[in-house]
Every structure is written in structure tokens, then in C-alpha cells.
């Protein structure tokens, strides 16, 4: 990959499908062709793993060989002529497909991979429509490989992607291929289940439906789900994910490629942590003094509180609010005579690094940096302390709390402190210690339901999007609620979309200058000048 971007790499002249082309030396035929927008089928090749060259579906015709060559491991060379669609190449791939399908159970109707399965796709292009194989198909094991992963051995094409993943990326090496010939299949060593923090990725990279995630098994068919590009909120790494949902329920998260952040992977902790969306404790309606009230009444009450805080106004933020929400918080604070804004964040965990250059951040919240970029670098530090001290001394009369932390893990000191405020409004994801005794409780949106931007631990600003279809959501997002409150209080003329709020933010906050939702690249953009980025990261500054 890096060769491709290095201008020093000499170019090689070669011919692809009759067209003379140039590519940087050292690339494989497959990668060079892909860069030139010619795709060649592949099973065992994965850009993040070493080359195995065992599936043979990527065969192409070459002028340097009498027999077809595998494009995923042969490299380009001066004068090489490659045909990807010649009769010889197509016949070679057809033959590979026929072999692959000999023992395949063809159980696509009940296979959870159907719809995103490479074997299925290629059999449309290259597969014979009937089998010449009259003998009995062989049977391979269907069993649990670990707490989250099952193998349906009959479907395995022994590409070893999963084995290589465990060897090279997670570095845990639990998987191996057992048996020989057409009986070979993936297995774990006795007594060592596959149970590493990245295990879920093997399900994504399995090109067929052999590895199945227990969590998603039989939950939905791929083509029925709504897919939303967003960012995982499990830690400050901010892995890019696709949230796949059906009828307003999240069914699974899968990683999206972002070479700057998570490459092709994500961790299991983030992957399976979405059940809180459906928790019984989830706050779904506004309450005032414990009684359910209409949304509008709740917003009005809060607006009155803001107009007349009756003393000091405290705002307690957490690192789950988006940059746009933080900006509105700042607007509220700047209009109050006497306001204290402080932050609370969940306790740090341990950071984990893996041999495959993948890291899980020790910071277990998605947007500390973004909130700091808007509300000041000390918001979770001394500003937070100042707010807590004021609360403990009973000096805060009106307090607004953002409690978007998805797990009931109250920070006792804060919980005690917020009780001392004369009145308290909580934007809460879940009912619990934060909401107990609160005068006003307003449903908060989870990170998967927000629309805005998060900045990850490298200061990379990334877009989060709500997985709900427009009009599906029964409750509005925090950003809309905040704007409704501000409008009633006369602090904002009207409610705007999150992109428009971001534009206002970009106008006044230096790190955000020149950025906008529509121009933010799919891979995110580093907040310039805000924090130094690790050496070598493209676009890093200061």
C-alpha cells in the first residue's frame, strides 16, 4: 500500500487487458489492477493479511506463463501482459468455482452470510448452474469455536483468512486448519476456544458463511437491513462502523475501512455493546417531578429555568455529547449571568495494542477531545472540579446534566454532588443514579442515535449518524431538544440541522475552521492545531 503513495517508487510499464498501463513497482497484479479499477475475484486475499494464495479464484492469463497465474501473489513487471477476462482466465475461474461448490451445502436460504457472500456472488459469474458431482457430499463439523463464534464447517472453503487473522492481527493464534484434502476445516485447539478481544472480525472476513456470530445468528437477512455509516462510541479510538438495523432495532455493527483509524477491524467490546439501546432502564419519555409530561412542557420548563436560573447555572457535560451539542451548551452558558460548565467522564480502562497495529483506547468514551475543543481544554479537569466544589457547597441553583453514559456505573462523588443542586434537569439515556430525584428528566439519545461529529483520541473529527430512518424516531435527539429549549428561551431564533449548527461552530471555534459536514472526508479529518498528531500521520500539524 505504502509503495503506491511513495513518489520515489519507480513505475513499471505493463499491459492490463490490452491497455498499456503504469503502476508502482512491487505491487501485485491484483492490487495494481484494483488501483486501475479492474477487480479480480478473490477469496483468500485480504488487504490486511499476508498473502496465502490458496484459493486460486484470482487466476488470470499472463504472457509469461503457459498456465494461468494467481494475481494476488504474482507481482507486476516490465512488459508483463495480463488478461483478466480472456477465455483462459474465465475457464480457470469457472473450474475453481466448480471445485468450490462440489462439497458446498448450497444452503444459502438459511445461511446468515447470504447477500454479502463472495461465494454466492462469484457463483453467479463463474459457477455452473448445476453440479456434475454425483457422489455424496462430505460432512464437516458444525460446532462452537468460542463464546461468540460458531463454525459451519460444510461451508468453509479453507481460505485461512480467519487463521491468518488470529496469527497476525490479534496475535492470539487460536485457529488452525485440521484434517486434509477435502475434509480440511477450521477448528480450535482442544480446550482453547477463540475468545480474544478482536474475535468478531473473523466473522466479517470469512468470505463465506462458515464463521457465524452467535449474536447475529438468524436475526435478520442482510438485504433487509438499513445501513448507516457511523462511529463506535465504545472507546476514544472511534472505529468506523456500519450500523445495521431492522425496523428501528440495531441488529449488528460491522467495521468500515478507515486506514487512519481502525483499518478494517473493530473490537468485540464495541461490536456487541449496543444492547443498552433496548435496556429496560432506557428513558423514553419526559418526566417532571416524576410525572410524565409532554415533550413541549418539559422543554418549556427547562427554558424557564434557563431564563431565570435563580443563582448559579451549572452544566455537567459528558464525553458522549457531540461537538454540535457542546456548542449549544456553550451558548446556554454564555447567556447566563453566572454559569459553571464542567465535565465528567467514565473511568479509564486499560489500552490494548495488537500485533496487527490495532489499538483499543484506554479512554472509554468517544468525544472527550471534541468537547474540549469546544468548551475548553480544562472542561474535564479544573472546570469539572470547580463545578463539583460549587455543587458540594450548595452554590448551584439550576443544574443541567448530560448523562449519556450507556452503562449504569455511577460515579459516587458526582452523584452525591448533583443531588445538592436546587433543581436539576437530566438528559438521560437510562434511568438510574443520575436521574433519581431530578426535577426534570428528558430522554437522551445514544451515540448511535445522534447526528453530529465526534473527535477521536487522535483529534480526528468523524461523522456520527443516527441509525433511525427519518420519521422513525419516537423521541427527538438531544440536539433538537436543546435547540427547542433555546428557542423557547429566546436564545436562538430557530432550530437547525446538525450540519447548520456545525457551520456556526466552525465559524467561531478555531480548531473547526474551514470544516463542514459536507466536506468532511469519509475517513474524517484531523482537527488542525488542536493536538499534535503522532509523527507520520498524514495531515498532522503543530
Amino acid at each position: 500500500m505504502s509503495e503506491a503513495t511513495n513518489p520515489e517508487t519507480p513505475l513499471v510499464n505493463w499491459v492490463l487487458n490490452g491497455q498499456p498501463v503504469q503502476s508502482p513497482a512491487g505491487m501485485t497484479i491484483f492490487e495494481a489492477a484494483k488501483a486501475l479499477e479492474t477487480t479480480i475475484p478473490n477469496f483468500c486475499y485480504h488487504p490486511g493479511l499476508t498473502i496465502a494464495g490458496n484459493c486460486r479464484i484470482c487466476m488470470v492469463e499472463s504472457n509469461r506463463s503457459k498456465k494461468p497465474v494467481i494475481s494476488c501473489s504474482e507481482r507486476i513487471a516490465e512488459g508483463l501482459e495480463i488478461q483478466t477476462e480472456s477465455p483462459m482466465a474465465i475457464e480457470a475461474r469457472n473450474a475453481v468455482m466448480e471445485f468450490q461448490l462440489i462439497n458446498h451445502p448450497l444452503d444459502c436460504p438459511v445461511c446468515d452470510k447470504a447477500g454479502e457472500c463472495d461465494l454466492q456472488d462469484y457463483s453467479y459469474d463463474h459457477g455452473p448452474d448445476r453440479s456434475r458431482f454425483d457422489e455424496e457430499k462430505n460432512i464437516r463439523h458444525t460446532k462452537e469455536l468460542g463464546p461468540t463464534i460458531d463454525i459451519w464447517g460444510n461451508r468453509c472453503i479453507v481460505c485461512t483468512r480467519c487463521v491468518r487473522f488470529c496469527d497476525e492481527i490479534s496475535g492470539t493464534g487460536e485457529l488452525c486448519v485440521v484434517e486434509r484434502g477435502d475434509r480440511s476445516v477450521v477448528d480450535v485447539f482442544p480446550t482453547v476456544p477463540i475468545d480474544n478481544p478482536l474475535a468478531g472480525n473473523v466473522v466479517d472476513i470469512c468470505p463465506v458463511g462458515a464463521l457465524i456470530s452467535n449474536d447475529f445468528k438468524f436475526e435478520a437477512r442482510i438485504w433487509n437491513m438499513r445501513k448507516t455509516d457511523s462511529v463506535c462510541a465504545g472507546c476514544a479510538r472511534g472505529c468506523n462502523v456500519e450500523v445495521q438495523s431492522l425496523d428501528g432495532f440495531v441488529k449488528r455493527l460491522v467495521p468500515r475501512e478507515n486506514m487512519e483509524v481502525n483499518k478494517w477491524w473493530m473490537c468485540d467490546e464495541g461490536r456487541y455493546d449496543y444492547r443498552y439501546l433496548l435496556a429496560d432502564e432506557r428513558v423514553t419519555a419526559c418526566t417532571k417531578d416524576g410525572e410524565p409530561v409532554e415533550d413541549h412542557d418539559a422543554h418549556e420548563t427547562l427554558a424557564h429555568w434557563l431564563q431565570d436560573p435563580g443563582g448559579t447555572l451549572g452544566i455537567l457535560v459528558d464525553p458522549y455529547i457531540t461537538c454540535e451539542e457542546a456548542f449549544l451548551v456553550e451558548q446556554i452558558a454564555s447567556h447566563a449571568n453566572n454559569a459553571l460548565v464542567g465535565g465528567w467522564k467514565p473511568a479509564d480502562g486499560t489500552a490494548q495494542s495488537f500485533p496487527g497495529q490495532f489499538t483499543i483506547s484506554g479512554e472509554k468514551a468517544p468525544n472527550r477531545l471534541g468537547v474540549e475543543a469546544v468548551l475548553g481544554k480544562l472542561v474535564f479537569g479544573s472546570q469539572g472540579h470547580a463545578l463539583r466544589t460549587a455543587l458540594e457547597k450548595g452554590q448551584v441553583s439550576t443544574l443541567i446534566v448530560f448523562a449519556g453514559f450507556p452503562h449504569p456505573d455511577p460515579d459516587d462523588a458526582w452523584v452525591q454532588a448533583i443531588r445538592k443542586a436546587k433543581r436539576r434537569a437530566v438528559f438521560a439515556l437510562q434511568a438510574g443514579a443520575w436521574t433519581e430525584g431530578a426535577g426534570l428528566v428528558i430522554p437522551g439519545a445514544s451515540p448511535f442515535e445522534k447526528d453530529g461529529t465526534y473527535a477521536n483520541e487522535d483529534g480526528r473529527l468523524q461523522r456520527v449518524r443516527s441509525f433511525h430512518a427519518p420519521g422513525d424516531v419516537e423521541w427527538s435527539h438531544d440536539l433538537q431538544r436543546l435547540q427547542a429549549v433555546l428557542r423557547i428561551a429566546g436564545l436562538r431564533p430557530r432550530s437547525l440541522s446538525s450540519s447548520a449548527v456545525f457551520r456556526e461552530l466552525a465559524d467561531v471555534k478555531k480548531p473547526f475552521h474551514g470544516l463542514s459536514h459536507s466536506t468532511l472526508p469519509a475517513t474524517g479529518a484531523p482537527l488542525p492545531g488542536f493536538i499534535p498528531l503522532p509523527v507520520g500521520v498524514e495531515g498532522g500539524s503543530v
Partner: protein
């Protein structure tokens, strides 16, 4: 078109002549209609069927109410592959899958609802099914008292 009458150009089409006296009294059409009625009343070759006492057998391939088929052991054949609901142009099939308790298959429907009021009886579901588990029967007289009854659940479909 609607504006045609608003234009008062000289070269416009001439106003059509109004109906004549005979037509305006409706007398002649009335007699004609009555004659037609009487003709049919006393027709000897009437092919009216006295439904529901008399019933005509539906033509072969007639597409009526659905049925979920059972296998030799009396279990539903459906494996919850969702292909019928994918093929259905009316989006009226709702399926929720679960793990099958039997060793010979993995999946079965926990929920299988068809909204018969949305169904257009096209038969696409039957065509899409890889297990021959759903079919449209010739049953066409399927009244019900409430809308709720028109959403057929798995039990109802299996008992058809």
C-alpha cells in the same frame, strides 16, 4: 382542456348543439332500459349462479388464501429463509426466525404473519419458496369480522 371554454376566439370550435327535446325528457332511454331489464328477467338461458347455495369450482391455478405446508412428520416445511417476504411486492409477509429444535434443519419461523388485506394474491411467495412450503389455495371466500383477523399467523396458515 379545462380552459377550452374560457377562450372566446372567433376561430375557436363551434359550440356543440345541445340535446334535443327527446333526449332532455329521458323518455326514450327509460323505455329502452326497462326493456333490457325485462328481457333479462324472462331469459330462459340465464347462467346466474345462486351463490352460496351453488358454487363454481375455481379454475386450476386459482390463487386464493395461503397455506403453510407440513412435512411427513407434521412439522412446518418453512425454514424461515425470508425469500417469500423478499419477493412479495406488497410487503405483507412478516417473519421472525428462531433456531429449529430438530436435527435436520437449522432454522424455523417463530412468527409468520401474512397481512391478507395487503396481499395482492400474485403468488410470488409461492414461486420464490425454495422448500415448497407456502402455497396459495383455491379458497376465496375468506370473510372476517375485524381487520385483526385478516392478519394470518403461523397457526392459522398451517391449519389451512
Amino acid at each position: 382542456m379545462a380552459h377550452d371554454h374560457d377562450h372566446d376566439h372567433d376561430d375557436g370550435p363551434a359550440e356543440p348543439k345541445g340535446p334535443g327535446l327527446a333526449e332532455r325528457t329521458y323518455f326514450v332511454p327509460l323505455i329502452k332500459g326497462l326493456a333490457n331489464t325485462l328481457h333479462h328477467m324472462f331469459r330462459v338461458d340465464a347462467n346466474t349462479q345462486h351463490y352460496p347455495e351453488q358454487r363454481r369450482a375455481p379454475a386450476p391455478g386459482y390463487r386464493g388464501e395461503h397455506r403453510l405446508k407440513r412435512d411427513e412428520l407434521g412439522r412446518e416445511k418453512c425454514v424461515a429463509c425470508f425469500l417469500c417476504s423478499t419477493a412479495c411486492p406488497a410487503h405483507c409477509i412478516e417473519i421472525v426466525a428462531e433456531e429449529a429444535p430438530w436435527s435436520d434443519r437449522e432454522k424455523r419461523p417463530r412468527l409468520f404473519n401474512i397481512d391478507m388485506m395487503r396481499c395482492i394474491y400474485c403468488g410470488m411467495c409461492e414461486e420464490a419458496c425454495p422448500c415448497d412450503a407456502i402455497e396459495l389455495t383455491p379458497v376465496f371466500n375468506i370473510p372476517s369480522r375485524t381487520r385483526g383477523e385478516k392478519i394470518y399467523d403461523k397457526e392459522r396458515l398451517l391449519s389451512n
